[in-house]
């Protein structure tokens, strides 16, 4: 139980007055951000990142991850009370959560949502606690070829398994890679794609792009749809909480299933949204009463919320252990780590033990404190939604501008944010996915340099990616995932060749 001892050490790092108070500030800000329409986890973390620049890394990352937990909890409030999913993965929560609120059971639905988020996160954090150190120490043997193979796997799975049109995913991803390549090339020291423009020497900052793509574009979209906020009031009494918790053991199977789905999809990139829908659909399929789903069944809140939060949390596992974020928010947290000069990946567990275990301990504590906080303060946060949008919209714009400026103290970045805002708006309306773009932008340079370092190491021989069983397996798996749609089509065709025979035979029987 080496992990356990290290975890206790992590708690001791955490339990100082300063860290704890920043944790609570982070949670409040996070819930606030999660509740506001047009903001969500990734934007919230990106916009609030500058606040943490002057802190020490541990306090900063604890506050950031608490913003993330808060945003996850906050998203459920809007889905249930207002039928507006704060995040894409809260969509499935609205299916049964909002009908429950309409039937006067808002408090039960909210308690169910918060509790199941807590359970989902807890399972994922346990997974991180016991799995991450092992994966990290295994990955210590990785050289550039192995790392490139893992990056390749990440990107290929996006193209092969994504639901969007393939060419749109590729456009989004290549655009991210290209923008990441702007500026000084770290391997050769040459300048690329700057067109003699001084401002571009530093390259395009990932966080600036995120603030524009998600924050500003979301404001434009919200304004376009003219959200009419009409929601249900709710306050949660202790009696309701206990009642819901008393029934909890009955749903252990749903909770367990959703946690498992969530953890699995969270570790593979881009999974949180899929996880919540899959959790919901499977709960429906295995239920005794599938008809009741969508009409306000509490199980319909448990299932997607548990899965979404398990996946949102376990997305941090590959980020910490391998330096590969499993979700957009994890990518932004990774961007934050880079700002403090911490290089996420296997070495982090060796060189910055205090930091890693402080962060993992904060996941436990943040979830417990967050659960208590949301259960007690729901009425206050629900009231935020009654503030007119015309007051909130300009405040969000100002926060975005502050965030974008503070990252490099550059006015150019504010303009860049505005351009990305428009790009994000157009892309979202054309169904061009933004997640591959974000991922390519943050990982682009690392992927390229690991490729080129492998090439320097092998003398330009591509066979290095099949040089041992480990790298060979990952590379092959990546290629299989990339061509998965074609492969599954071929399988379908083969099985169809068999099926007509079966169909012909049946009439005779």
């Amino acid at each position: 139980m080496e992990a356990f001892g290290l975890l206790l050490q992590g708690f001791s790092v955490l339990l100082t007055f300063k860290t704890l108070s920043f944790m609570i500030v982070g949670l409040v800000l996070g819930i606030f951000v999660g509740v506001l329409p047009g903001l969500g986890g990734p934007n919230g973390v990106a916009i609030l990142l500058p606040l943490t620049f002057t802190m020490d890394p541990t306090t900063a990352i604890v506050m950031l991850s608490c913003i993330y937990w808060g945003a996850l909890f906050g998203g459920a409030i809007t889905s249930i009370l207002f039928n507006i999913p704060g995040e894409a993965w809260s969509v499935a929560t609205t299916f049964d959560g909002y009908p429950m609120a309409q039937q006067g059971q808002a408090a039960e639905a909210l308690t169910a949502a918060f509790t199941s988020s807590f359970i989902g996160s807890l399972v994922a954090v346990l997974l991180i606690t016991f799995l991450a150190p092992g994966i990290a120490s295994f990955a210590l043997q990785f050289g550039p070829p192995e790392f490139f193979a893992v990056y390749l796997l990440t990107f290929c799975s996006f193209v092969g398994l994504g639901r969007e049109d393939k060419h749109k995913t590729i456009i989004s991803m290549t655009l991210g890679f290209l923008l990441a390549g702007i500026g000084l090339d770290t391997v050769s020291g040459q300048l690329r794609m700057t067109f003699g423009w001084d401002e571009l020497l530093r390259g395009i900052n990932f966080l600036v792009a995120v603030i524009g793509l998600f924050g500003i574009s979301e404001i434009l979209l919200t304004m376009e749809e003219r959200l009419a906020l009409r929601g249900h009031a709710a306050s949660i009494s202790l009696r309701v909480v206990l009642n819901v918790w008393k029934d909890l053991p009955r749903y252990w199977m749903t909770l367990l299933r959703s946690s498992a789905i969530g953890c699995w999809l969270g570790i593979t990139p881009g999974g949180a949204i899929a996880a919540s829908f899959m959790g919901y659909n499977l709960a429906k399929r295995f239920s005794n009463d599938p008809e009741g789903f969508g009409k306000g069944k509490i199980e319909g809140v448990f299932a997607p919320e548990t899965a979404a939060h398990a996946s949102g949390t376990s997305a941090l596992l590959p980020m910490l252990a391998l330096g590969i974020p499993g979700s957009g928010t994890a990518a932004i947290l990774l961007g934050g780590l880079l700002v403090w000069g911490l290089n996420p990946g296997p070495l982090l567990f060796v060189e910055h033990k205090d930091f890693v275990w402080g962060l993992i301990a904060s996941m436990y504590l943040g979830n417990v404190v967050g659960l208590v906080m949301v259960l007690t303060t729901v009425p206050i946060f629900a009231a935020i939604l009654r503030v007119p949008f015309s007051a909130i919209a300009p405040m969000i714009v100002v926060s975005c501008a502050i965030g974008a400026f503070a990252i490099q103290n550059a006015m150019f970045d504010v303009w860049l944010m505005l351009v990305f805002g428009v790009v994000g708006y157009v892309f979202k309306k054309l169904n061009i996915p933004l997640a591959p773009f974000t991922l390519a932008l943050v990982l682009g340079n690392r992927a390229e340099s690991s490729f080129r370092l492998s090439m320097i190491g092998s003398g330009g021989d591509l066979r290095v990616f099949w040089s041992n069983w480990l790298v060979g397996t990952i590379t092959t798996l990546a290629l299989i995932l990339l061509f998965w749609p074609l492969i599954s089509q071929a399988f379908g065709r083969v099985s169809r060749l068999w099926r007509p025979a079966a169909v012909i035979r049946t009439p005779h029987n």
């Binding site: 290209l178 391997v187 714009v397 790009v423 054309l430």
Partner: protein
Amino acid sequence: MAEETEPATGDAQAVVGTRSVDIVVYLMLLAFAALLGFDNWRTGMSWEADGPQAGYFPFYLSLLLGAASLYGLVYKLLMERGPGETFVTGEQLRRVMQVFVPTLLFCVFMQWLGLYVASFLLIAGFMWLVGRIALWKALVTGFLFSLIMFITFDIAFDVIMPKGPLEAAFGY
């Protein structure tokens, strides 16, 4: 990059269809890919003995971007005919502009007046003119928000924002 592409005209039903925006965006992406591809070709995109040159990766990525955009363009032009869905209606575009134009002005003002004064103007102006909220409420909200931001960032967290003549008058 894909900037605003649709011309702003009155409050007609559909200002522009998704199909036309799609085509314009693909054309822009194609042009962007060509530009970057050319620049990387100039940087050097060949394969040396010890691996690729600096422009190698981006050059082939721009080719890929170009190919994907071209595919999208051809697909749109050949396969999906007819007017298609509405990208944005006049009414929607008006509302989007209601927030985009003030944001643009805010960025312009930020350079001359500093962030805090510009944010006061944006919030108060937006609440009053777009939200039709009473002027005094708008002014108070704008002032309080800017003040809180100033205290949080410039004083408490030492994150220095651009400032203008007003802050200079107070000695900051």
